[in-house]
């Protein structure tokens, strides 16, 4: 199986690569259009700031490439946020693949949310074998508002969409690569889609 990871200017890709290695997958990290189009699966992970990431993707023409992908695509963390329409982080227009908005947590508790929280209302093959209320690891200051493409809910300050699916696009806010056995199972589920 050929699994491509979108190479762009958002950090913390190495731990995703190691997590895939532990599952026996050797991913390729690439921004080459043909490589991305011909992959069986595409992973779109990363941590970083939305406007910088979008500028980079547009300059490289990757915005259009990602939108047109037909195979299963998996956005993680900022990857999830970039698949949405718009982010409040520096008022950024994102890829617009999933009609949902990204907002900043209101300052009613500590921001960023850092740590383990539960995922509930799970509805997607991405969560096959995952119990309702399982714990996964989050690090973020912006969240995706509740929306019709939500396949998982987390509550921090307010209930929000911790996971999304639209057609062949899947996305989670948390870090499966850092979420112990639960995270491994989610990555495995994506690989087996």
């Amino acid at each position: 199986m050929k699994l491509a990871i979108v190479k762009y200017n958002a950090g913390n890709i190495q731990s995703v690569i190691y997590a895939l290695n532990r599952l026996g997958i050797e991913p390729i990290l690439t921004d080459d259009v043909d490589e991305l189009r011909s992959a069986d699966k595409v992973l779109f992970p990363g941590q970083g700031e939305a406007s910088n990431a979008m500028n980079y993707l547009r300059n490289k023409g990757l915005d259009k490439v990602i939108k047109d992908l037909k195979q299963p695509v998996f956005g993680i963390c900022i990857g999830q946020q970039l698949l949405c329409e718009h982010s409040e982080e520096n008022n950024t227009d994102c890829l617009g693949i999933i009609p949902a908005k990204v907002k900043k947590f209101p300052p009613l508790d500590k921001v960023p949310q850092i740590g383990w929280n539960t995922i509930t209302d799970l509805k997607s093959p991405l969560f096959k074998g995952i119990d309702e209320g399982s714990y996964v690891y989050f690090v973020h200051s912006y969240y995706v508002e509740a929306n019709p493409f939500q396949i998982g809910t987390t509550n921090y300050i307010l209930p929000y969409a911790c996971a999304l699916q639209k057609d062949n696009f899947y996305a989670v806010q948390f870090h499966p690569e850092k979420s112990s056995e639960v995270g491994e199972q989610i990555l495995r589920n994506f690989i087996e889609l």
């Binding site: 950090g11 960023p112 740590g115």
Partner: protein
């Protein structure tokens, strides 16, 4: 609901864990990666690796350690120990670290924290603050808590937040090694006056101390070393106990 976190800290020197670790079920009790993996299996929520090796090629030592940890462990971890530049942080993050901990370098050059958070995002920048009470004042100490500065701990915590820290690791040098409980009053004060998650460290001796630091101390996470290394308290028992005490834990 977001859980409170239990974080074992491993001091690493020349690639080995220091402090008398004695785990019979490990092939190499001194191997930080194997010990970290064991803690992870036991339910640790995160790990902190503090590399205290003094070498000229410090960055290389750090990166080697980060790589081995990241390849083998599937929970988040922070690396610290002599991190002083954008290049150090970049090397550690690229090797697979989730967060870096900065201490003395931030005291020497506070603007480093602005640079780091702009460059990498605040979520991966942990500022470690070693504090000691000197004649009634809580003062920040540098160089592993040995050198007093004139910085007031609370003001320093606020400044670090403004400059872009994502989390604070607060170690009470008054409590460290005493096993008499965490510095709950100071931790609570800082936790309510900054909006960042606070990792409390120094003083853990009993399971009740953890209850106290999460309730009175309002800490978001608690870090300890020797009680875990010497198996005085097991992580599964501790988390079960805290859960029964009404503290939200990942079990």
């Amino acid at each position: 609901m977001l859980t409170k976190r239990i974080i074992p800290c491993l001091d690493v020197k020349d690639g080995k864990t220091v402090k008398g670790v004695n785990f019979l079920n490990l092939r190499d009790a001194g191997d930080p990666v194997e010990l970290g993996a064991l803690y992870s299996q036991q339910g640790a929520d995160e790990l902190v690796f503090l590399d205290i090796t003094a070498t000229l090629e410090k960055r290389k030592t750090l990166v080697e350690l980060v790589k081995r940890v990241a390849q083998n462990i599937n929970i988040p971890f922070t690396i610290g120990g002599g991190i002083g530049s954008i290049e150090d942080v970049s090397a550690c993050l690229n090797a697979g670290a989730d967060k870096v901990s900065v201490n003395s370098s931030a005291i020497k050059n506070p603007a480093l924290i602005d640079q780091l958070s702009r460059e990498f995002g605040n979520q991966c920048i942990v500022v470690a603050i070693d504090t000691r009470n000197v004649e009634g004042k809580n003062l920040v100490h540098s160089h592993g808590g040995t050198k007093p500065t004139t910085l007031d701990t609370i003001e320093w915590a606020k400044e670090m937040q403004e400059r872009g820290a994502g989390e604070l690791l607060l170690t009470s040098m008054d409590k460290d090694g005493t096993k008499s409980g965490f510095a709950n009053d100071l931790t609570a004060y800082i936790s309510t006056h900054v909006s960042l998650p606070i990792i409390a460290s120094g003083g853990a001796g009993t399971m009740e101390h953890f209850t106290d630091v999460f309730t009175h101390g309002k800490a978001d996470a608690a870090l300890a070393a020797s009680i875990f290394h010497f198996k005085e308290i097991g992580i599964p028992e501790l988390k079960q106990y805290l859960s029964r005490e009404g503290i939200h834990m990942r079990l």
